[in-house]
Amino acid sequence: MRLGLPGRHERPADPADALTARAGALDEARVAGGDLLDGDAAAAAREVAARVRERMALGGRNVVVALAGSTGAGKSSIFNALVGEDVAEVGVRRPMTSVPRAAVWDDDPASALLDWLGVDRRHRVGEGDGHLGGLVLVDLPDFDSRELGNRREADRLLGLTDLFVWVTDHQKYADAVIHDQYIAARRDHQANMLVVLNHADEVAADQLPRVVADLTRLLEADGLADPRVIATSARTGMGMDALREAVAGVVSDRRAALRRLEVDLDGVVRRLRDGVGTAPDGVPREARARLVGALARAAGVPTALDAVERSYRRDALRRTGVVFTRWRSTLVADPLKRLRLDRLPGGAPEAGDIRAALGRSSMPEPSAAARAELDLAEGELADAASTGLPRAWADEVSRAAHPPEDDMRDALDRALTSKVTRHRTPVWWAVAGAVQWLCAAAVVAGVVWYVALGLAGWLQFALPEVPRWGPVPYPFLLIVGGLGLAILVSLACRAVVVPAARRRRRVVEASLRQAVGGVADARIIGPVEAVLARHGDVVKMLERAGGARA
């Protein structure tokens, strides 16, 4: 359906379609936001979006104008005066009208529209002189009498009308009800408002301008810019032409419905916007770094790294150390083995190992401090990621940032077992080891030589002279040289091994950090960013619902 005068081509898009699109965006925003949006605002958004679609489907041929006002202000009299015959009963009893009544200035009975409005009492005026053509005038029940039903009915219809005509009189124009609860509450609709001061004939002519000025002042206080008050008297016909003209102006423009719905859309978009904020682009770097650090500590990364370093050193020293002192290192168990992190590089755990089935390490449980630190880091990450977000969203971010502890521990442990492996054995260890064995052999040979010499001497064998290198006998040379060389090699190896172990630690640390970072991304940062993205979607949809070009 097209709304708007035929031939209005200056607008880039059809306004009715644009409005329906905005309503669609509003629905999307509401669905995307879900229960994180304010419930009342979401309900209002749902209602407005539905109303936009319904009203647009009904077409823009008719403009619904409602006469609303206090009891006794003369709504029905004005209705009759505009229609030109006594359609609505007029009386002195208050309240008089309790069921709305409509008059249609059209050859078409506008049944669908009136059904939608829920107005059963209908009167057809016909196209008439033409300049009111398309007008659907509704006489509302009052909204300030003791009859609460009247007020409910008036409120319902006020939600559906395109143009509000507020009817008041010199007695009631300063009433709190009409100003505070009706006009000021709909001040955004001021382009779709007319204010009528009825019963103007009862005010002395010289006083009327003062009353009109006073009412204008009150309307300005309600938030209307440049309000126009039409003083009328349905009885004498005074001001009725001006009113008819003003209504005709709105009717012939045909954009009243669009304007009204636009304002409603803007209103709910604004309300929903209060429930969203300006989210940070993502999780800040330093918050992530802190979280990864805390996760690493909770996963026992420092313990594992110490084990890696010590295990490397221990193995290296055992293979390259002096053969005679190697027994010492067997006193201490291999730290990696103790933590069950001694998987061979690239290989599966040894067959028959229970880890093959469990895939778990024997890392100690995280300490209370580490757990607490992780909790804090998660909290800080949530805080940093939810700066500028309203509470519901911030709470959701916080929930996403605090996954169940058991899941986390499991994921971290898997990261640990997959990244920590036993070091490879470098070739030079074997070379140095061989040298050490040679040294040991030399020492043993020297000792055996001496023992043999001593034994032979004791048994009184005559032996040839022990070969000497200068004054030093060969066996002594073997012992001292072997030991000296062993110690030298051992010291040299230690000088290489300590930094190598540290290097090994760094390599493992880097890969562990990456793995822990992966866990952080998958389990915490990802869900947090998903919430932020959802928030971003809502904001974007609301922008489109608010009329921004998509």
């Binding site: 006794g72 010199h170 009631k172 505070d180 300490s367 209370a368 401090a369 607490a372 630190e373 909290g379």
Partner: protein, 583 residues
């Protein structure tokens, strides 16, 4: 029931005059109790409760106390009604002179005008009634700004003696101040002259007030003003029907037709006549007048108990809400303290970093060295020098300290977050939290305080070891390990002494503590070790409790002004019963 008659609604004489002084004191006491009722927390309905409190105090000040002080004071009839109903015109016409400004602009009257007989002046000139409002005398100046915080007193010889009328501001215009003042003045009235019009007689706002009047038993007279003469019969009948429904069927109704005013803005005599005559007759008949006074007074006194009861309920709500908020805080910190106590004793603190340090300590043979090095300090120094490392237990101590600090800090933060979350969703709590945004997290100096706490605790442990070692044979032996080493051992034992460690960790974390325990037992004896460990744990938990109490105190302070004393509601009810008993 609202026609002023010889009998009050209660039938019997409502107020025994001899008990008047007692009754007056009881009402005054109730007023003081009501005025001091604490309603600071923003629980649902608190705005209504505050308004009810103000209305109650105002009515006692403005009406009950002055009326009880002098039952024979002139009757005060307050003319009230909607804006534009013609109240001022009515008053001017009753007086026969322009005393209150009337006009086409709404609302016209914003400062109340009280018209009385010159002889009655002393009754109104002082602050006997309406003590909250100032006094201005003389006729209303034509265009001078009106001061709504004072009553303009006008004497007129045409008023009957013994009856004064007060032109109140409207009850329903956009000016809030007018509505509030009108409500206050109507509560101070002996009788309401309720003015409405043909266009307004079905308005919701005045009917709310009339219903209140009916409930309170206030004497009411209705003036139906500005009626088109042709419609008088129909409207009058409809209004009568509505009054009947509201229980005001017997209230006198005076109709005044829409008629041309004389140049001063005064109604023609035939219209105002009946009302004026009725008022004059009322003024002249002392008995009738007393009956009107009694009826309204009785109604107001009757209502006191309900109103005081409602106020007491509100005060209780406040008290309960504040108590609920506090219990949330207490629960959060109590849980945190429980968790700390558990973590301190079940060995969890020995995991991770501490365990690693301990393994380093034991695994590298440092402990053995320390254990055996009774005389080998020199050698230690030498090895330290040679190996470029000092064999000191400091890394372990540091790990223990940071572990404990972080755990306590985290529990405190968690408690603060839990408490804040609970407050955000509790009635009244959100507003307090908004006023004190710092309550969303722990005090900013928490970290330093926790660190100091743990440091002090460690120092206390070293002291314990030192004093324990001094008077023992073991002193010499103990000295060899160094106070620090023993202190750390004691800390380990403290953190694991209930042996709550399970599974694979028994051998690791538990084992470390067992080893430490063995050393300590060798030096001090097992009884002492147990005692020391218990004492150390107790000290830490006590320190943490004090710290958490200080944290919880921040919340308590924020609620200080809201924490009404528990007896206030009871005292209010008592005061109301005292009023009842004094009647």
């Amino acid at each position: 029931m609202n026609t002023p008659g010889p009998e009050g609604p209660g039938g019997a004489e409502p107020i025994a005059s001899r008990g008047l002084g007692i009754l007056r004191d009881a009402v005054a006491h109730l007023r003081d109790e009501a005025a001091s009722a604490g309603l600071t927390l923003d629980v649902p309905g608190v705005a209504d409760a505050r308004a009810a409190r103000a209305a109650l105090v105002d009515q006692i000040d403005d009406y009950l106390l002055p009326r009880l002080s002098s039952l024979d004071a002139p009757l005060l009839a307050v003319v009230g009604g909607s804006t534009g109903a013609g109240k001022s015109t009515l008053v001017n016409s009753l007086v026969g002179d322009v005393v209150s400004r009337a006009g086409v602009l709404r609302p016209t009257t914003s400062a109340p005008v009280l018209v009385h007989h010159p002889g009655d002046a002393p009754w109104f000139a002082d602050q006997r009634i309406l003590p909250g409002l100032g006094r201005v005398t003389g006729a209303v100046p034509a265009e001078a700004p009106q001061d709504p915080s004072s009553v303009r007193l006008v004497d007129s010889a045409r008023m009957a003696r013994g009856l004064a009328i007060l032109d109140a501001p409207d009850i329903d215009s956009v000016v809030t101040r007018n509505r509030d003042l009108a409500g206050q003045l109507l509560a101070a009235a002996d009788m309401w002259i309720f003015v409405t019009t043909a266009a307004r007689y079905a308005d919701a706002v005045p009917w709310d007030l009339l219903r209140q009047a009916a409930e309170r038993g206030t004497s009411v007279a209705i003036v139906l003003d500005r009626v088109p003469s042709e419609a008088i019969g129909e409207i009058r009948a409809h209004l009568g029907q509505m009054l009947q429904q509201q229980g005001l069927g017997q209230a006198p109704v005076f109709s005044i037709a829409e008629s041309a005013l004389d140049p001063r803005g005064i109604l023609p005599d035939d219209q105002i006549g009946p009302l004026r005559d009725w008022l004059r007759a009322l003024a002249e008949d002392a008995e009738e007048r007393a009956a009107v006074v009694r009826q309204t007074l009785t109604g107001a006194l009757d209502a006191l108990e309900t109103r005081a009861g409602a106020l007491a309920t509100s005060v209780e709500d406040q008290h309960n809400a504040a108590a609920a908020l506090l219990s949330e805080v207490d629960r959060a910190y109590h849980d945190a303290l429980d968790q700390v106590a558990r973590d301190v004793s079940d060995g969890t603190l020995l995991r991770g970093e501490v365990l690693a340090r301990w393994q380093e300590f034991v695994g590298t043979g440092e402990l053995f060295k320390q254990v055996e090095s009774t005389v080998s300090r020199l050698r230690d120094r030498l090895t330290s020098f040679v190996r470029g490392r000092r064999d000191e237990p400091e890394p372990l101590g540091e790990a223990l300290q940071t572990g404990a600090s972080a755990m306590v800090t985290a529990q405190a933060q968690r408690a603060a977050a839990t408490a804040a979350r609970a407050w955000r969703t509790s009635p009244g709590g959100a507003a307090v939290l908004e006023r004190h945004p710092d309550l969303a997290r722990s005090a900013p100096d928490l970290d330093t305080r926790v660190e100091r706490l743990v440091r002090d605790w460690q120092a206390g442990i070293f002291d314990m070891v030192r004093t324990e070692g001094k008077d023992r044979r073991a002193a010499a032996k103990g000295l060899a390990y160094g106070v620090n080493g023993l202190g750390l051992a004691l800390m380990l034992v403290t953190f694991a002494s209930t042996g709550g460690i399970t599974g694979a960790e028994v051998g690791i974390a538990g084992g470390s503590a067992v080893l430490a325990q063995k050393i300590l037992e060798a030096i001090f004896g097992d009884e002492t070790v147990r005692r020391l460990a218990a004492k150390a744990r107790e000290n830490l938990v006590r320190g943490v409790r004090e710290l958490f109490d200080a944290e919880a105190l921040r919340y308590r302070r924020a609620l200080e002004d809201a924490m009404t004393d528990a007896g206030q509601a009871a005292r209010l009810r008592e005061a109301a019963s005292a009023v009842k008993a004094a009647r």
